[in-house]
C-alpha cells in the first residue's frame, strides 16, 4: 500500500455533454470536474436530471448516440480516454474500469448462466483458460458472500434474488482486477438491510484491493457512511465539492443546505421541521440563464439570474455560488 503519495486515478476536467435533437443543442452536463484518488471513494450526489449518471457514462465511453462530449478531458491512470480508439476503450471497460448499474436484472443476460457471464471477462481480458476462470469465479462468488458457489455458477439470473444478483454484478466487476469501479445507484432497488450488506461489501472489497470507487447516489446517508469525498450536482453542474466531512458539517451551497434540511433523519429529534426546497428539479431541456439553481434559491439576487458562478474554493469546500451560505445559517 502506498500512502503519503496520493495518486490521482481518474481526473475529469471541465466535461460538457451535449444532446443534439432537431438541430437544437442542449447542454446536459456542463463544466464538470471530478477527481478520484487511487483506492478512494468519491460520491456523486444529485437528483434525477442532475447529470450524475451521464457523467459516469461519458467516462465509460457509453453515451447514447444522441449525446456527445463537446469539451473537457477525462484522464484515467495517465491516459486520455476520449482519445482512445473504440477497441482500446473496449479493453478498458470491464478491465481496468468496471461499472455496476442500478437494476441487476436488466444488466445481467437472462439466457446465460451466471458462471458464463462471470468467466467471460476473465477469459477475454485476462486470457485465463476455462478451468482457471471457473476456479476464480468460484473464489469470487464466495468472496461476495454467495453460498455454494459451484452450484450457483450453473444457475440463471432469475434464480437469484435482487440482492444476490447485485452481488454477482460486484463479482463480475471485480473479476478482472479493476482499478476503478463506477457504481450508479447500486442499491436503490434493494431493501434497507440488503442495501447495507451490499454497500458494506463493495466498500470493503474496494479498500482491500485498493480499487477507486465512484458511488453515484441520491441518498445522503450513503454518502456519509461510505464516501471520502463528495460532489453535489445540480442541473448538469457540480455546485459543491469537497471532503464529505466538510461538506456535511458546513455546507456552503444553498442547494446542499437545502438537501440536508429536507431529509427526515433518525439521528435528529422527531419533531424537527423539514424545510423543502421550493419548486421542481430543473428540466434539462429548458434553458436557464445564470445559476441553474436560482429559480429555487432563497438567496438569489439579480447577479445569479445573469452570470454562472464558477466552482471556487470557499471555507472548506469548493462552491459554485455567488452568495455561499454562512455556517450559522446552514446549521439551522
Amino acid at each position: 500500500m502506498k500512502d503519503a503519495v496520493i495518486v490521482t486515478l481518474l481526473k475529469v476536467e471541465h466535461l460538457a455533454v451535449d444532446l443534439v435533437r432537431d438541430g437544437q443543442r442542449y447542454g446536459l452536463v456542463r463544466d464538470v470536474s471530478l477527481e478520484v484518488p487511487a483506492g478512494g471513494t468519491l460520491a456523486v450526489v444529485g437528483e434525477s436530471g442532475s447529470g450524475k449518471s451521464l457523467t459516469a457514462l461519458a467516462v465509460m465511453g457509453l453515451l447514447p448516440s444522441e449525446l456527445s462530449i463537446s469539451s473537457g478531458t477525462i484522464t484515467f491512470d495517465g491516459r486520455e480516454l476520449p482519445d482512445l480508439s473504440a477497441r482500446q476503450l473496449r479493453e478498458l471497460r470491464g478491465g481496468d474500469i468496471a461499472m455496476i448499474f442500478q437494476e441487476p436484472m436488466t444488466s445481467l443476460n437472462p439466457v446465460l448462466t451466471v458462471g458464463r457471464q462471470l468467466t467471460e471477462g476473465m477469459r477475454l481480458k485476462l486470457g485465463l483458460t476455462r478451468g482457471e476462470a471457473r476456479a476464480r469465479a468460484i473464489d469470487l462468488l464466495s468472496e461476495v458472500g454467495i453460498a455454494e458457489p459451484e452450484r450457483r455458477l450453473k444457475e440463471y439470473p432469475h434464480q437469484f434474488s435482487g440482492g444476490m444478483r447485485q452481488r454477482v454484478m460486484i463479482a463480475i466487476a471485480m473479476s478482472c482486477n479493476p482499478k476503478l469501479i463506477l457504481a450508479d445507484e447500486p442499491t436503490t432497488a434493494l431493501d434497507v438491510t440488503i442495501q447495507a450488506q451490499i454497500l458494506t461489501l463493495l466498500s470493503r472489497l474496494c479498500k482491500n484491493h485498493d480499487v477507486g470507487l465512484v458511488l453515484i447516489t441520491h441518498n445522503l446517508g450513503i454518502v456519509a457512511r461510505h464516501a471520502d469525498r463528495v460532489s453535489v450536482m445540480y442541473g448538469g453542474r457540480v455546485v459543491e465539492e469537497g471532503l464529505a466531512r466538510a461538506a456535511f458539517a458546513a455546507p456552503a451551497h444553498p442547494y446542499t443546505v437545502g438537501l440536508l434540511n429536507s431529509v427526515p433523519r433518525l439521528d435528529l429529534p422527531r419533531d424537527r421541521a423539514l424545510t423543502p426546497i421550493d419548486g421542481q428539479p430543473p428540466d434539462p431541456m429548458e434553458i436557464v440563464h445564470g445559476c441553474r439553481f436560482h429559480p429555487r434559491c432563497a438567496w438569489a439576487t439579480e447577479k445569479c439570474a445573469q452570470e454562472i458562478p464558477p466552482l471556487a474554493p470557499h471555507r472548506n469546500t469548493a462552491v459554485a455560488c455567488w452568495h455561499p451560505v454562512a455556517p450559522t445559517v446552514a446549521a439551522q
Binding site: A196, N219, A224
Partner: protein, 341 residues
C-alpha cells in the same frame, strides 16, 4: 385509548393459493399476512414498515377491500367490513381512499387533472354539478397546485406535481382514512419533503387519519404517531414512534435502524454497524419458531421452536421476541454498552 379507533384490524390472515401443473391445482399457499392486529385512533397516522415481501402492502389492500382476507376482522368506524356485501361496502369505499407510489401509473394519461378530480365528485354526487368546477379549484389550492393545472395532462407535470394531483383525487372523496402506500418513495429528495409536509398539513387541517405504508424508516418516523414493524407477514414490534425509534425492543427493529445510514459522516465514522446477514425467506415456506431466527444475531435455542407472540415490553408497546428489551438505538453493539456501564 378511550375513544373508539377509526380502523381496527384483528387477527388478519391473507393467504394466496399457489397453483401449479396442467390442471392448475392448488399445491400450496403463500401466507402473505399471518395474524396482524392493530388499531388506528381517529386523527392519527399509523405506519407499517418492513422490507419487500413482509406483507405491508397486502394489509393495505385488505383494508381497502381490494383483497379478501382469509380470516380476521377489519372494523371501520365500528362496522365490520369483512362481513359486508359489495353493495353495503359502497359507502365505505368513499370514506377510505388511497395514494399510491407511482403517480404516473395511477393517473389516467388521457384525462386532464380537472377531469381526474371532477369524476369522483360527479359519480358520488358530492356537490351539485354547477359547483364541481369550484370544488376542483379548491382541491388544487389545498394541494398547492395553481388552478391552471385543471387543463394539464399527467405527462405535462413533474413527479411531485403528479403526486399532488393523486393526493387531491383522494381528498375529492372527503375520506376519513387515507391509505398511503409508499406515497413519497418515488420522489426526488427535495420534492419528497414538500409532499411529506403537505400530507402532515392536510392531516392537521382536515382531521384525516392515515395508514402509511413505507420502507423509509426516517419518513415513517417523521409522519407517524405509531408504528408497526412487519416481517414475513407478522408484526414484530408495535409502539408509539418516539420510543420505537429511540429504544427499539425487537432485534429486527434494531437491525433495520442500524441499516439506515445517517447523513452525518462524523457520526457514521464512529458507528460500527454489522449488517443483518441473509435474506427474507419465502412466505410460502416460513421457518419454524420465530420467523426471524435464521437472521437474528441474538437467537437462542428456544427461538427455533417456539414462535413468540406479541407481548407488552413497555407502556403501549409490544414486541414478538423471547429476548425483547428496549435498548437505545446508538448502543447496539455490546462492546459500547459495557464501556458505558
Amino acid at each position: 385509548m378511550t375513544a373508539k379507533p377509526l380502523l381496527e384490524v384483528n387477527g388478519l390472515h391473507v393467504r394466496f393459493p399457489l397453483r401449479s401443473g396442467l390442471m392448475q391445482r392448488v399445491t400450496g399457499a403463500v401466507h402473505a399476512v399471518s395474524g396482524v392486529d392493530f388499531a388506528i385512533p381517529r386523527g392519527e397516522a399509523y405506519g407499517l414498515v418492513g422490507e419487500s415481501g413482509c406483507g405491508k402492502t397486502t394489509v393495505a389492500r385488505a383494508v381497502l377491500q381490494l383483497v379478501r382476507p382469509s380470516s380476521g376482522i377489519i372494523r371501520f368506524d365500528g362496522e365490520n367490513l369483512t362481513a359486508m356485501s359489495p353493495a353495503q361496502l359502497a359507502p365505505f369505499r368513499r370514506r377510505v381512499q388511497a395514494i399510491f407510489q407511482d403517480p404516473f401509473s395511477s393517473l389516467n394519461p388521457r384525462m386532464t387533472a380537472g377531469d381526474i378530480l371532477a369524476e369522483p365528485i360527479r359519480v358520488h354526487r358530492l356537490v351539485p354539478p354547477r359547483e364541481i368546477a369550484e370544488r376542483v379549484g379548491h382541491l388544487l389550492d389545498l394541494c398547492g397546485l395553481p388552478r391552471r393545472f385543471v387543463e394539464l395532462y399527467p405527462h405535462e407535470m413533474s413527479g411531485g406535481q403528479r403526486q399532488r394531483v393523486g393526493i387531491a383525487r383522494a381528498l375529492a372523496m372527503e375520506p376519513d382514512l387515507i391509505v398511503c402506500d409508499e406515497a413519497v418513495s418515488a420522489l426526488d429528495v427535495s420534492v419528497q419533503a414538500q409532499i411529506i409536509n403537505l400530507l402532515a398539513d392536510l392531516r392537521r387541517e382536515l382531521g384525516l387519519t392515515y395508514l402509511f405504508i413505507g420502507h423509509d424508516l426516517s419518513v415513517v418516523r417523521h409522519l407517524c404517531d405509531q408504528v408497526a414493524v412487519m416481517y414475513l407477514g407478522r408484526v414484530m414490534e408495535r409502539a408509539p414512534s418516539e420510543p420505537l425509534f429511540a429504544t427499539p425492543a425487537h432485534p429486527y427493529t434494531r437491525a433495520l435502524l442500524d441499516a439506515v445510514p445517517d447523513p452525518d459522516p462524523e457520526h457514521e465514522a464512529g458507528r460500527e454497524v454489522e449488517p443483518l446477514q441473509g435474506e427474507v425467506p419465502s412466505p410460502s415456506a416460513p421457518p419454524p419458531g420465530c420467523v426471524f431466527h435464521p437472521r437474528c444475531p441474538v437467537a437462542i435455542a428456544r427461538c427455533k421452536q417456539d414462535e413468540p407472540a406479541l407481548a407488552p415490553v413497555g407502556p403501549e408497546r409490544k414486541a414478538a421476541c423471547w429476548l425483547a428489551e428496549p435498548k437505545p438505538r446508538r448502543d447496539t453493539s455490546i462492546k459500547k454498552q459495557e464501556v458505558i456501564q
